[in-house]
């Protein structure tokens, strides 16, 4: 039997909570949490401290999303066997295909319409989106396959 380097199953529910909560807080903070709003809530604080609080919220939420994703992807299923390993491999293949297609279309679009990500921030966002796209495709495909098979097996 192949040795698996996956984390124990107990990390999976932790990841399932951390990832969406972290992502939600990160997106919400990016869109709604301005320093002027924060200064009204936290009356009397120095502007540098308010900036520090915002950066801390963004950093913690982003890293909890990443860590949650790591736990979700690299933890074992309740009953881990070779069928689950096969589904894992197929999901990785699909995720790689989705990401490569995204890259092809994005670069073709940039080449044809002469539209490139503006500045370092734009490029950073583009790369983060492509990395997230890979892992989101993997997680959704894997969980969907597991759930679909479980439901069909239970119907019998």
């Amino acid at each position: 039997m192949q040795r698996s380097f996956l984390l124990p199953y107990r990390f999976k529910p932790i990841g399932a909570v951390m990832m969406p909560v972290g992502l939600f807080i990160w997106i919400w903070s990016q869109l709604n949490l301005s320093e002027s709003k924060l200064s009204t809530y936290l009356n009397g604080l120095e502007p540098t401290n308010i900036h520090l609080i915002k950066v801390t919220i963004l950093t913690i939420s982003f890293f909890s999303c990443l860590l949650g994703m790591f736990f979700l992807v690299f933890s074992k299923e309740k009953e881990e066997d070779e069928y689950v390993a096969d589904l894992r491999l197929k999901s990785f293949q699909l995720a790689a295909f989705v990401q490569m297609t995204f890259f092809l279309i994005a670069f073709l679009y940039m080449f044809l319409f002469k539209k490139e990500p503006s500045g370092d921030a734009g490029l950073e966002l583009f790369l983060i989106a492509s990395i997230f796209l890979f892992w989101f495709s993997y997680i959704s495909c894997f969980q969907f396959s597991i759930l679909k098979n479980k439901l069909q097996a239970n119907e019998e």
Partner: protein, 67 residues
Amino acid sequence: MKNNIREERLEIGITQQALAETIGVSRQTIFAIETGKYIPSAILVLKLSRALSKPVESLFSLEKIDG
């Protein structure tokens, strides 16, 4: 590759769960094998053969598309 695991299992009167426990996999895996969604490894094939007391050739057979 097609198989007749389901027929052999029903013949000796054991459930998917019991067979899964005997060979150390989940019930979902037995279901996937029986429905042809998953082709098991050689190790699992030999375990199935031992659990059902049938030779491998009578459990699995090649189809035309397998070449």
